[in-house]
Amino acid sequence: MSIFIPILTLGLLTLALAGLIAVANKKLYVYEDPRIDQVEDMLPHANCGACGFPGCRPFAEALVSGQVLPGKCSVSSDAGRAAIASFLGVALGAEEKRVARLACNGGINVAINQAYYKGVSTCQAATLISGGGKACSWGCLGYGDCEVVCDFDAISMNEFGIPVVDIKKCTACGDCVEACPKMLFSIHPISHRLWVACKSLEAGDEVLDVCDVGCSACGKCAMDAEDNMITMVKNLPVINYSKNHKTQDPIQRCPTGAIVWLDDKDGLIKGKEAKKIIRKGSRNMGYS
């Protein structure tokens, strides 16, 4: 008999508690779509924001609710996107790959520094001190904030202090756009190969005095381009990408190489008449 008492006790106890939990489970249940967790697991967890959402979780919520398509995630692999699409039973929504492009090519070998900046060595900090020391107000300062901020190791500073974007690694997350105090980065579809690598609003000698590769606003590219594809606005050529921009004609007569052709394999290609830069050291500091 005595063996039954504990069994009974424990049995009753367990039963009572199980019943309580079962009731509570029914009464206090809060529904959450389980697919959100699953989709989030399938995402790359980079939380980079390239999709336009604050992170992978909100993107997963939006995916499940059908607001967006998986193609928006530029970090995930093709297979990953396809997997999410088939899991949710939606279209892939493929988008063209976009990458970050830099609108300056004024490394230390071609652009002048007018002052020695001393202080916290980031571009953001330097910009606040009389523009950071570069003679060109619009030019890249070369302290590499973009390199630091890039989560995908897609940006590296070259020997002249100019960031180079590795288009294979770039996910168009836009962190560099945000980080650059001179606003030199912008996100473009990879098919936009015609590119103006200068942001100087000045013209002629004012530009050439401080930088060998700046746009001197001569307007030759605008003349050579078909169909008014290029217009000069505020001393800079502006390319209308909705027109046919697949030809290299406009860059050929550029005297400084400020308008360039960005090739997948060969990188940055300058026109035939662009002056050749053979200087490897830094261009003279200042005016002395």
């Binding site: 520094n113 007018q114 002052a115 020695y116 900046y117 001393k118 202080g119 900090a125 606040l128 001190i129 009389s130 020391g133 500091m285 200042g286 005016y287 002395s288």
Partner: protein, 298 residues
């Protein structure tokens, strides 16, 4: 005018000129009189202990930095300061190997592991001291009588015990005023304690020199005077209340504030810039809490 390249830097373009190593150096100087009095009182024993901890701390700092591939930071004097402070809280006949171990713990565990100067959350010297207290409770409560005649002729054998071996105690041991009161209810004159005519740790006996050092630092604005003042005030009030309740079981407030290294702790330990609060309100609270805890634990 010829064209020139200028420097650009952020404002302000003036600096006061005081520097961190100067502060550390001055705190070190302020400790020296009390340390010297310890040597005067306890002889070569005390000197050996303090030299061991100071050098031990500096060596540890140097080699840890080297091993970690950083520039050595012993020139900012903070390692030497922590080492000396540790030495001053140890008994004069403390085995040197233990003292050395303590200084290694002080720097490695109290400071380096947190990222070095400025990042430690505890006072490094206190970490070292607490470790030694817990590891070797006997050795750290073996005291020496002050002003022994042979103090400048011989060194206690426990000082040079073999590493990791138990020290042999041959010292003429003396009770600190605190332990004398705690166990035998013998009260020492506050005057004697202030002048350092009592046994105790190497650097804590001469309250007068410690206060003088503190005053020097306060005058140079290298010490937050609010901390020692609030600690000592709290301890004084706290012990005065108990003394008035029962004058036999509890010591007088004057005895309390001059005993057991309270002054050293309040002036040189609690004021460690890195681990003490920085706003003046925070400092008062911090001081009173230390004082209260001190009263409770003693």
């Amino acid at each position: 005018m010829s064209k020139v390249t200028l420097n650009i830097s952020t404002s302000p373009h003036l600096v006061k000129g005081l520097s961190t190593d100067t502060i550390m150096k001055n705190v070190l100087y302020a400790l020296l009189p009390a340390a010297a009095f310890g040597v005067f009182s306890f002889g070569w024993n005390a000197l050996l202990v303090m030299i061991t901890t100071t050098l031990g701390a500096m060596l540890t700092e140097h080699y840890l930095n080297k091993w970690y591939g950083k520039l050595t930071t012993i020139y900012d004097y903070s390692a030497a300061l922590s080492g000396l402070l540790l030495g001053m809280t140890l008994p004069p006949v403390f085995p040197l190997w233990m003292a050395f171990l303590g200084s290694v713990i002080t720097i490695a565990l109290g400071k380096f592991i947190f990222g070095g100067l400025g990042y430690n959350v505890f006072n490094p010297a206190l970490v070292g001291r607490a470790f030694l207290q817990a590891a070797f409770p006997v050795a750290i409560t073996t005291w020496l009588q002050p002003f022994l005649p042979e103090r400048f002729y011989s060194v206690s054998s426990s000082i040079y015990a073999w590493p990791f071996m138990r020290p042999t105690v041959d010292a003429v041991s003396g009770a600190t005023p605190l332990s004398a009161f705690k166990f035998d209810k013998v009260s020492t004159e506050a005057y004697d304690m202030a002048m350092g005519i009592c046994s105790g740790s190497v650097g804590e006996t001469s309250t007068v020199f410690i206060i003088l050092g503190g005053l020097y630092l306060a005058w140079r604005k290298m010490l937050n005077w609010r901390i020692p003042v609030s600690i000592i005030m709290t301890v004084f009030v706290f012990s005065a209340v108990f003394y008035m309740l029962d004058g036999v079981a509890y010591p007088s407030p004057f005895f309390t504030i001059f005993s057991g290294g309270l002054m050293l702790g309040a002036i040189f330990m609690a004021t460690d810039m890195v681990s003490s609060p920085i706003t003046s309100e925070g400092v008062w609270v911090y001081g009173s809490i230390i004082g209260l805890l001190r009263g409770v634990i003693r």
